[in-house]
């Protein structure tokens, strides 16, 4: 089961994969390409990844989150390649008997994924393109 895909994300299918009859709630998070970033217009984004390592890192985050919230069922998929405004780059589903754990587990997942998984994005706009986070970090 891969956490990465080059195709559009089907969040509905992801939800269906996760839900158990004992679940009373699910929280779905989707990250979406927006038309602006730090004051600049964005038209599209290219997502790159160190694929085998990204798979391992996401898997580790799923395991940590599950250890923290044992009642929660999780699914996550991250899309790579060229995306335009409105496209989903990531979808995370957390389902649980009660809503609190579903909210918290979903939030924990996206926060950690953004923090450690080797995925990068190059933003493209009317004034050119740029790898996010690189400029000015030295």
């Amino acid at each position: 089961m891969s956490y990465l895909t080059d195709d559009p994300i089907d969040a509905h299918a992801l939800v269906a994969r996760v839900m158990r009859p004992s679940d009373g709630a699910y929280v779905l998070f989707e990250g979406v390409v927006r038309n602006h970033h730090e004051g600049k217009t964005v038209e599209s984004i290219f997502y790159d990844a160190y694929r085998p390592m990204a798979e391992k890192e996401i898997d580790a985050i799923v395991r940590e989150t599950t250890a923290h919230y044992p009642d929660v069922a999780l699914a996550v998929v991250h899309r790579l390649g060229h995306l335009v405004v409105g496209d989903s780059s990531i979808a995370i589903v957390a389902s649980s008997t009660h809503r609190a754990e579903a909210f918290e587990a979903c939030r924990m997942m996206i926060d950690r994924i953004k923090d450690t998984v080797p995925i990068w994005k190059k933003e493209r706009g009317p004034n050119g393109e740029e790898w996010v986070g690189w400029q000015g970090r030295c």
Partner: protein, 84 residues
Amino acid sequence: MQLMKVRLLFFAVLRDIAGTDVRELAVDEGTTARDVWQSLRNEFAKLTDYTQPPMIAVNESYAEPETILRDGDELAFIPPVAGG
């Protein structure tokens, strides 16, 4: 002194700068990940200002800059991640 083979992977901005996504290196015994970064700084003007290396992965796991490379290792410098 023994020469070792290390596979160096380039991603994102570093691939653009290096103009390739992979390079086979022959390094001396005792070479650290940081040493490889220094050699890249010498080679590519766009990296000169980056005295500190970005995050480092050895064999698909995060590692310290002082990690000593072993024969057959896969090394990658990880620019600031921006997934999600």
